[in-house]
């Protein structure tokens, strides 16, 4: 029952929120109150979770296909649900202040609640169909949230772009899920995993008996490897879209047009992180398919480095955080791509957990700083952390975590685990482990560099210190809670919710070294100058334009599709409809001719009739004779 409550509470909050949207006070009470209740349920569910417990769903009678619609809860899912609910609650509390004067606060809060419900559904789903439901609903909510300020053309465009890019990628996701379900005749997660896994024990036994590889595969009823790889690649395509990975990366930076709390939600705990959750659920099958692992590995290796470089050179610090999300989500997914089959994908999920904490902290803090400074550009934000003590601490802790400094903060620990997992994968050498490891190390250095940059810019000493007045104590409280969790969140490994190995001191030393290099590079221009201006002055305009990928999307997809659509519309009216119009014209012509022929006063009509009759008879005779 608990998982249904977990999904139901935020959805109920959304429905109530829409109903009460005109009264800000009630809308606020519903959003925050039910958000808190969701967090409570999630924490309880996590604390009480003992092994994996499936709650039966209502089920659908869909002919041959079994659709049980079950949910499942285990400690890992419990931990993820708790962090999602926590970030959502933080966002709700923060929005009561941030959107205080917004005339559509009610709609915003309701959409955030629905978004939370959809993400929780993906987390606790034990049915691929429910996963698709949560997945798509999240996409729709992102459209509404990014386009919240729909009076601005830029926000409308960003919302449209976000939805369409992810939806195009979802063609792959839906087909992949359908294909996997078709192989099992069921959408239940456990039923789907079974027939697509490689029956390793059986094959090994057969091989030991001296059977040939092909015979062993047939005898054990092994699934079709090529089909499995195709389907998983399709699923991964969808995940690359939702997680803003190459080649779909460009929508996320534009999505910064949305209100900052929405960005915090989308980046920290939902939407972009959902792909990691889905792949972790499919991991037993995914691990058996080297082709799919390589596909994902290459995509995320390229993404994490590219996005980190782009983040470094952004003039807008909110967009810098957006690109850092792209890079960090690639780090999570890289753990799934490279993990040895025996280890599972928990290192990626652990990084999701810690990323949710520090990224929500960074976003909420930068939203506050931007309000104080009056803009999100690096120039405007210079020194804005001085607006409140919690901002200074928050940025310090957040950027330390983003850079992945070990032992001090939560992000450091989880990144170590990802590194170790990639190393294990590289050693076992049947996946993209080496590639991922190299990319991870390079990315770590660049990440350290742009984290340094962000911190330097935000905490620079400026003569006129910005101030933000009227920030309620509860918002201070939210940020302090996130600061504390970012520092002490690493203790989550002690609960055993994530199955990860120990990290050796050697790895930590190596990380510190790599981070040190990144920091040193960033500090080349001294403490007072923006490192991006020192190191990458020429690259900045290119990076701000996201390498011009937007133009590429338009040239390669949008324009040809619209051209085709115009052609189709033309053919529809001028060709497909022509025979209909033609038959109408022919009927009318025949009627006219008949009427004309039957006018008695025209003697020529009779002649015409006779002539026609003769021609027809003649034609008949010719046909019959030949």
């Amino acid at each position: 029952m608990t998982p249904w409550l977990l999904v139901g509470l935020p959805v109920a909050a959304a429905v109530l929120g829409v109903a009460l949207r005109r009264n800000d006070l009630l809308a606020r009470a519903v959003a925050v109150g039910l958000g808190a209740a969701t967090l409570l349920v999630a924490v309880l569910a996590w604390a009480l979770a003992d092994g994996s417990a499936v709650s039966a769903g209502p089920g659908l009678r869909a002919g041959e296909l079994a659709v049980p619609l079950d949910l499942v809860l285990d400690p890992t899912r419990g931990a993820l649900a708790a962090v999602v609910a926590l970030v959502a609650l933080a966002v709700q509390v923060y929005s009561t202040w941030y959107l205080e004067t917004d005339d559509r606060y009610g709609q915003f809060a309701a959409t955030v609640s629905l978004f939370t419900g959809a993400m929780l559904l993906v987390v606790v789903s034990a049915d691929l169909l429910l996963t698709v439901v949560g997945w798509e609903v999240m996409g729709w909510c992102s459209y509404l949230l990014i386009g919240h300020w729909s009076r601005r053309a830029a926000a409308r465009r960003a919302a449209l772009k976000a939805f369409l890019v992810t939806r195009v990628a979802d063609i792959g996701f839906v087909l992949g899920i359908i294909g996997l379900a078709a192989g099992a005749g069921s959408t239940s997660l456990s039923a789907v995993l079974a027939p697509w896994r490689r029956p390793t024990a059986c094959i090994d036994a057969a091989l030991a008996d001296g059977a040939l590889a092909g015979e062993a595969l047939t005898a054990c009823g092994a699934p079709d490897g090529a089909l499995r790889a195709t389907l998983l690649v399709l699923v991964v395509v969808g995940i690359l879209g939702k997680s803003a990975q190459v080649p779909f990366q460009d929508w996320l930076a534009d999505a910064m047009e949305g209100p900052t709390p929405a960005s915090a939600l989308i980046h920290a705990a939902t939407m972009v992180a959902a792909g990691t959750v889905v792949l972790a659920a499919l991991f037993p099958v995914f691990a058996d398919s080297p082709a799919a692992r390589w596909f994902l590995g290459v995509a995320v290796a390229v993404t994490m480095l590219l996005a980190a470089l782009l983040a470094f050179a952004q003039t807008d610090l909110k967009r810098m955080l957006a690109w850092s999300t792209v890079s960090q989500v690639a780090v999570m997914l890289s753990a799934v791509a490279a993990a040895p089959p025996a280890d599972g994908a928990d290192a990626g999920l652990l990084h999701l957990w810690s990323h949710a904490l520090f990224k929500s902290l960074l976003f909420l803090a930068i939203g506050w700083a931007a309000l104080a400074a009056g803009g999100t550009a690096a120039m405007a934000l210079r020194g804005s952390a001085a607006a409140a003590p919690v901002l200074r601490t928050g940025f310090l802790v957040g950027f330390l975590s983003l850079a992945g400094v070990p032992l001090v903060v939560v992000g450091g620990l989880s990144k170590e685990h990802v590194l170790v997992t990639a190393w294990d994968g590289a050693v076992q050498a049947d996946g993209p482990g080496v590639l991922v490891l190299v990319a991870l190390v390079l990315t770590a250095a660049v990440t350290a560099a742009y984290s340094t940059r962000g911190y330097l810019v935000l905490t620079a000493h400026v003569r006129q210190q910005p101030t933000a007045t009227g920030v309620p104590a509860v918002v201070h409280g939210v940020l302090w809670v996130l600061v504390l969790l970012t520092v002490f969140g690493s203790l989550v490994v002690l609960t055993g919710s994530f199955a990860v190995h120990q990290v050796s001191a050697l790895w930590m030393l190596l990380s510190v070294l790599v981070i040190g290099v990144g920091v040193a590079v960033a500090l080349r221009g001294g403490f007072d100058r923006d490192p991006a201006q020192v190191l990458a002055r020429r690259f900045v305009p290119v990076a701000d334009a996201g390498l011009g990928v937007d133009l590429l999307y338009r040239r390669v997809v949008a324009t040809p599709v619209l051209r085709l659509a115009r052609l189709v519309a033309f053919v529809d009216t001028e060709v497909v409809d022509a025979y209909v119009r033609g038959s109408a014209v022919a009927t009318r012509a025949a009627g006219w001719a008949g009427a004309r022929l039957h006018r008695a006063e025209r003697p020529s009509a009779a002649v015409g009739l006779v002539l026609t009759g003769v021609v027809l008879l003649g034609a008949l005779g010719v046909l019959a004779w030949s």
């Binding site: 869909a62 041959e64 939805f163 359908i178 009216t573 209909v580």
Partner: protein
């Protein structure tokens, strides 16, 4: 008894309104029509609850029976028709088209409803055909006389096209029915489904199936027989558009399930690849036209072509999942398209035209309730889970991916891929409309605002919105209703 009453009540009152009561002023006529439609809905619920049916000899020499009854497949459609009937009758308070006497208009609505109810309840092939035809003339009147009064020529053209095109389709279907009747020796749909039709030879089955599918494809409509639909929708008054989309198109797909799929399964199997390709082309074709179409009513009509493509693809797949998907998507499209046509019809009434190139104040700013319902309809149209459109279309793609065993796997998988692409295109056109009509700049105080929905229109929209959400949140109710009847028809032979 109740069954006969259900069919007779709207039929009799409708006939009286178009003949004897034609001079009735608008106010009593509205009440009469609304009361009749409400009573019909109550009767429909009673019939469904009691399982009432009627079965008498009709033309004993030909073995035809006056037989009406419901099963799991027809129950949702009867309820849908009765509900839509009440909603369009109520909508007369919001919009009463000019062009003739109000009583005739309302009578035509009731006659269409009566014909549709009889079509869904008929258990005899000839009876089915007769009921199917009854709908044509009142619908023709609705489009031709009460349609858009801006352009009489376009109105006449749309009405003629509608009636001629569908009459040609019906004639083809009649040939199919007569051939089936002559060869199988019975017109009882239950007997035909239980094996009397399946026992026919392969050639006969193919001929019967081809005639039936061709005739019904016009009604659905399946690409390339869809070009009558956009002009008819553009011209028809709101109530006519709603009936057309939510009831008349459903008769086509219902006919496909009852006649070719159930009675001549082997013949249908041989035609299935053609039908699947036609349906899939319709999905992509309709969506592409929607990307550039300027008239919002035409756009929704083309989106109907795309949605019916999913239904046809699912039917062609031949599996039980496919049948379930088709029946679900059928009803879902009824609710969604009714909602969209009420909104768009309302917009046309307010604006005079629904040309998308004319800049107008954004609905989200000036009339948030209308905007919300429009957005809901668009979201359902693009297949958002939790709303009506999703389940049918997802299951349709699944059914195409995994068709019944005797069908070409490669072809159907290709169709599934194309259908999934069509679903992404649906998102593009739905958001195109949302971007133009719903979202926009802060309105200019100088420009007249669009009045928000109120009164009866608001109630009608509210009911439809609840139906769209309800179907999406609890798909198990509808799928559970149709499951047993579908299992009886089975996944092909």
């Amino acid at each position: 008894m109740v069954m006969s009453l259900l069919l007779a009540l709207p039929g009799a009152v409708g006939l009286w309104l178009v003949t004897g009561g034609r001079g009735l002023p608008v106010r009593p006529a509205r009440w009469v029509a609304a009361a009749t439609a409400a009573a019909t809905l109550v009767l429909a619920v009673v019939v469904v609850a009691l399982g009432s049916s009627v079965d008498r000899p009709w033309l004993p020499e030909l073995g035809m029976r006056w037989s009406f009854g419901l099963d799991g497949i027809s129950v949702p459609l009867v309820l849908l028709t009765a509900t839509i009937g009440l909603l369009v009758a109520a909508h007369a308070w919001a919009e009463m088209p000019t062009g003739g006497s109000p009583a005739t208009f309302l009578g035509c609505l009731l006659l269409v409803e009566a014909g549709a109810l009889a079509t869904f309840a008929a258990r005899d092939a000839v009876l089915f055909f007769v009921a199917f035809e009854v709908v044509l003339v009142p619908m023709w009147l609705l489009v031709g006389r009460y349609g858009d009064d801006h352009d009489p020529r376009a109105r006449a053209d749309a009405a003629h096209r509608f009636v001629l095109y569908t009459a040609v389709g019906s004639t083809t279907m009649l040939l199919g029915i007569l051939l089936l009747l002559a060869r199988a020796g019975t017109s009882d749909l239950r007997a035909l489904a239980d094996g009397a039709g399946g026992a026919l030879g392969g050639g006969t089955q193919l001929a019967v199936a081809a005639l039936l599918v061709l005739g019904l494809a016009v009604k659905v409509p399946v690409f390339p027989f869809h070009t009558w639909l956009p002009p008819a929708h553009t011209t028809a008054p709101t109530a006519g558009s709603v009936l057309l989309a939510a009831v008349l198109l459903k008769m086509g797909t219902y006919g496909l399930v009852r006649l070719p799929v159930a009675t001549v399964p082997d013949g249908f199997t041989r035609l299935a690849p053609v039908l699947a390709v036609a349906g899939t082309v319709g999905i992509v074709w309709g969506a592409l036209v929607c990307l550039v179409e300027r008239d919002l009513k035409r756009l929704i009509a083309y989106s109907s072509v795309a949605h019916m493509g999913f239904v046809v693809l699912a039917l062609a797949s031949g599996s039980e999942t496919g049948l379930q998907a088709a029946l679900y998507a059928n009803v879902a499209h009824g609710a969604v398209s009714a909602l969209l046509f009420v909104v768009v019809g309302g917009l046309k009434q307010r604006w005079g035209s629904v040309d998308l190139t004319v800049p107008r104040p954004a609905l989200r700013e000036t009339s948030p309730r209308l905007g919300f319902v429009l957005l809901l309809g668009l979201a359902a149209s693009l297949g958002l889970p939790g709303l009506a459109g999703f389940w049918g279309e997802f299951l349709a793609v699944y059914a195409a991916w995994d068709p019944a065993p005797e069908r070409s796997r490669a072809l159907f998988v290709a169709c599934a891929v194309a259908a999934a692409v069509g679903a992404a295109l649906a998102a593009a056109y739905a958001l195109r409309v949302a971007g133009i009509v719903w979202a926009g700049d802060r309105p200019d105080p100088e420009v007249a605002t669009t009045p928000d929905t109120s009164g009866v229109e608001r109630v009608v929209l509210g009911v439809l919105a609840v139906a769209v959400v309800g179907l999406g949140v609890a798909p198990m109710v509808l799928l559970g209703t149709t499951a047993d009847a579908v299992a009886r028809i089975g996944g092909g032979p």
